[in-house]
């Protein structure tokens, strides 16, 4: 493919410069295309391989642990693409319409036509509301990890990690290694759930053993690991003082000034929604997610998904899915592509998918919590709507669908667009109406997908109208 013929049509556009976006870009460049990569962060790597703003004396090994080689390879490989692609860091793609993207970069909004769109938008922590979770000192597990990795800060002087998912133990271990004071790990799943990990041994023995080693090292360091915790309450008036929970009918309480909390991850799907992709229920993630085939093709021709934004599968899967989606784009354009490589990637992704089933069983999501969420607990952090207000709206208006619930209660209407409360609102609505969570729908995404200055959005609208 000559440079001349590619320059006649718009560029492929890749959203996200994490492991999926980087590998997608690399594969497109290798085929002679010149993609535009748009990413919100100042440097590539995504959340998992996020880079510091300035060097701080720590090594890659300090930052990324056992994944240091992968992080270094991704950063290096993306840097090597310099000059062969266009890369806009600190850029927010806030709308998609008619084959064009509205992108806020350096304080202005630019409209970009694209030919081929790879969405590698990643994930954020999934949570359920618990009393006190809006208090200063409570961060998501991902947020706690970013504070440590990217800013070299601990989220407290006596820290509790709470929730479910592999990140729970990883972040606790990283804090311990960094010299922070970890008071305890509170796992919402019973200890017996961890036996499921044995089923993962034949698939990825190194990962399972690493997890076991981390848990053992936490124990050896004297850090209390509590399993099967429920009825969790975060205590404090102006900030976190303590965490309380019940286990086997007994009340427990632990003083702390920082809490990292998360219940595994949820996909960022707003842009796939704006692109017009059809969604389907994903049982493992308990979420409606954009439909895609094994290659990442969505229901919209020319729109591809890769990485955690397409369903939670982790960083290793994201690298493969990014490359696979790029190969699909090449194939769909009638360009030379490598079907053997594509088949290998799909086989590896399927294997990782089987491992995700094991992880889900070992770190289950406590969906049943919403049944007992106290009425006074804040559910929507932006609009400050309590679980009780949501319940009242459901029964008063006979609500059965999530967007209707949003309209009558303002849940999910705030600045985060339901990123934080959407999963909880869906679970609560399903419970209150005696249906499965797959039956209540999902919050429709709206542009701008994240806050942009009003003047910028108006200017872009005018431009589009002209």
């Amino acid at each position: 493919m000559s440079a001349h013929s590619t320059s006649e049509r718009p560029q492929p556009l890749i959203v996200g410069a994490g492991p999926a976006g980087i590998r997608a870009a690399q594969a497109l460049v290798a085929a002679g295309l010149r993609p535009l990569v748009v990413d919100e962060a100042p440097a590539c790597g995504g959340q998992i391989y996020r880079q510091r703003l300035v060097p701080d004396g720590r090594s890659s090994r300090d930052l990324y642990g056992s994944e240091a080689a992968k992080a270094e390879a991704l950063h290096r490989d993306f840097a090597a693409l310099d000059g062969k692609l266009d890369y806009w860091p600190q850029a927010l793609l806030w709308n998609l319409r008619d084959g064009r993207a509205d992108i806020m970069v350096a304080g202005t909004s630019r409209q970009v036509a694209h030919d081929g769109l790879i969405l590698a938008t990643g994930a954020t922590d999934r949570t359920l509301p618990i009393p006190g979770w809006t208090l200063p000192g409570v961060f998501t597990l991902g947020g706690a990890q970013i504070a440590l990795k990217s800013q070299g800060c601990a989220i407290g002087s006596r820290i509790v990690f709470l929730g479910s998912g592999p990140l729970l133990y990883l972040v606790a271990w990283q804090y311990m290694k960094a010299g922070a004071n970890v008071a305890a790990v509170l796992d919402t799943a019973p200890f017996a759930a961890k036996f499921n990990l044995l089923r993962g041994l034949p698939l990825f023995p190194a990962i399972v053993l690493r997890g076991m080693r981390m848990t053992a090292e936490l124990k050896l360091a004297g850090i209390a690991l509590h399993y099967g915790v429920g009825d969790v309450r975060i205590k404090g008036s102006d900030k976190v003082d303590a965490v309380a929970w019940r286990k086997d009918g007994l009340e427990h309480r632990l003083a702390c000034d920082g809490i990292g909390y998360g219940l595994a991850l949820r996909s960022e799907t707003q842009l796939a929604d704006l692109a017009g992709c059809r969604f389907a229920f994903n049982q493992r993630d308990r979420a409606l997610l954009p439909k895609h085939d094994a290659a990442g093709r969505t229901s919209v021709p020319g729109v591809y998904l890769a990485g955690d934004g397409a369903g939670i599968a982790g960083a290793d899967a994201a690298e493969r899915a990014g490359e696979r989606a790029a190969l699909a784009l090449l194939q769909d354009r009638g360009l030379p592509h490598d079907p053997t490589r594509a088949a290998t990637l799909e086989a590896e992704l399927a294997r990782i998918g089987r491992f995700r089933d094991v992880l889900e069983a070992a770190f289950p999501f406590p969906a049943h919590w919403v049944k007992n969420t106290a009425d006074a607990t804040t559910l929507c952090r932006c609009e400050e709507i309590t679980a009780g207000e949501v319940r009242a709206a459901i029964s008063r208006f006979g609500v059965h669908e999530l967007n209707r619930l949003k309209a009558v209660s303002r849940v999910g209407m705030g600045r985060c667009q339901g990123r934080v409360c959407g999963a909880a609102a869906a679970e609560l609505l399903a419970h209150e109406t005696n249906r499965g969570v797959e039956a209540v729908g999902r919050l429709r995404s709206q542009a701008p997908v994240k806050p942009v200055p009003l003047t910028l959005a108006l200017a872009a609208q005018r431009e589009a109208a002209e």
């Binding site: 919100e40 703003l53 200063p136 998501t140 800013q151 601990a154 400050e384």
Partner: protein, 96 residues
């Protein structure tokens, strides 16, 4: 008592800024969120109940960490690098 505790970069060049009018020092490489929360225990008061908030996700998703400058400009603390001389307010209950 600040919320965040520095483990590294304690000897990096200092960056001056003000927090509710009080002169403070941060370190090169700090985000606005880090600069504030290594000095203080909140970023803002919530819109409806004026409850203290200090961010949540630190990755630009939850929108819990918007702060306002004395100039009226709003910014998301977790994804903005601190610039020297920033005059940050955390006391205003309602972000304009």
């Amino acid at each position: 008592m600040p919320l965040l505790h520095r483990l590294v970069r304690a000897d990096h060049p200092s960056i001056p800024f003000t927090l509710d009018g009080t002169p403070c020092e941060a370190r090169a490489g700090d985000t606005v969120l880090t600069a504030i929360l290594t000095q203080a225990d909140r970023l803002r008061l919530s819109e409806f109940t004026a409850s203290p908030r200090a961010g949540f996700c630190q990755m630009g998703a939850c929108q819990d960490c918007w702060v306002v400058l004395e100039s009226g400009e709003r910014l998301r603390a977790c994804s903005t690098a601190l610039s020297p001389g920033m005059r940050i307010l955390t006391r205003r209950a309602r972000v304009a």
